[in-house]
Amino acid sequence: MEGQTLIYASVLLTSILGIILGAVALSYKELIKKYYLLRDEHEKIVANEKARQEELIKKAKEESDLIIQNARQKAQETINEAGLYSEKSKQIFELEVKKASDTLISNFQAVLESAKTQTASAYGDISKEVRIEIVKQIETLRLAMQQEIVRSQTEAKRVIDEQYKKIEEETKAYKAEKLKRVDEEILTLLKEVSNKAIGKVLNFEDHEDILLEALDNAKRQNLL
């Protein structure tokens, strides 16, 4: 019983839902239709408005051309009339122009003077600071250079001392070697001179005496 009730209720609800859906679909269709109508109308209005604006612009242009033409004509007339002004007017005009330019020049000079004063003052301050800074820098540089000079002098002195010492040692060795060779040469020379000198001064008797003495000595020493 209860199951049948549920089935009837479900069928009823499904039917109601189907009716609602159908109504919604119809409403949606009507809405779409209305949308298209409104869009067409809008496009028509826009096109009309555009055409109207173009018309207005065209009209305005024509009117402005007319105004310009009239203005040009009037200006030409004014210029023509201006040429008729007297020399006096010209002078007055020039005077006025001169006055105006004098005033301008005067104002300009005043402004220039003021700027100059301000600039000078500013530059004066700047140059003072710069001078102090430069003096400071120069002093620093001077000290650095002084230190560098002292260091270079010390280094140079060290190098020179080393070189001098080396040369001194080499000279000493060279001198010793030379002296040694000179000694040897002197001795050789002395020997040769002695040999020659002794050989020359010996007569037969001397030779005989030396010979026999040498033989006797050798005999005594059992050399013979």
């Binding site: 050989g199 010979l211 026999l212 006797d216 050798a218 050399l223």
Partner: protein, 161 residues
């Protein structure tokens, strides 16, 4: 026989290498004469072809009763077996010097002995003696060299001051 005093006198006729050669040449002449066919050839050679000193020595030996052949052979043997002493001198010796030197040599080195003498003035003085394979520099050059060698250090010290 060979050690007899008379034979020893033969060494005086052959003091040097040159004299030895001359003496041997004389002995060869005499030997040839001994075998010659002519009578009196030996006597003739002894009187005419050898030095008087040589002839006198041989006469002396012949007078002792020895035959000529024996005398010549013994003399040759005596001289040929003599030892040689090489002596370099700084000067060319005169006869007197050779006498003195030979007298010293036979007295101190014995006989028979022949002096082979050469000359080299670079040795300055004294002599260089070579005997029995022993070399002895007894020259003045060597003595001077030793003197300089000994004095070299002193000399160097003096130069170094």
């Amino acid at each position: 026989m060979l050690n007899d005093k008379t034979y020893s006198e033969a060494n005086g006729l052959a003091r040097t290498r040159q004299e030895k050669n001359l003496f041997l040449d004389e002995l060869n002449l005499l030997s040839d004469a001994l075998y010659a066919s002519q009578p009196g050839a030996f006597e003739d050679a002894l009187n005419k072809q050898v030095r008087l000193k040589t002839a006198n020595l041989i006469h002396k030996l012949l007078a002792g009763g020895e035959e000529g052949r024996t005398v010549v052979d013994n003399l040759r043997k005596f001289i040929e077996t003599a030892k040689t002493v090489k002596i370099t001198l700084a000067f060319e010796p005169r006869e007197e010097t050779l006498d003195k030197l030979f007298a010293w040599v036979i007295k101190n080195l014995g006989t028979p002995i022949i002096m082979d003498i050469s000359f080299d003035e670079s040795i300055v003085g004294g002599a260089i003696v070579v005997i029995d394979g022993k070399y002895r520099d007894l020259s003045l050059k060597k003595r001077i060299s030793e003197l300089f060698q000994n004095k070299e250090m002193t000399f160097n010290k003096l130069l170094a001051q």
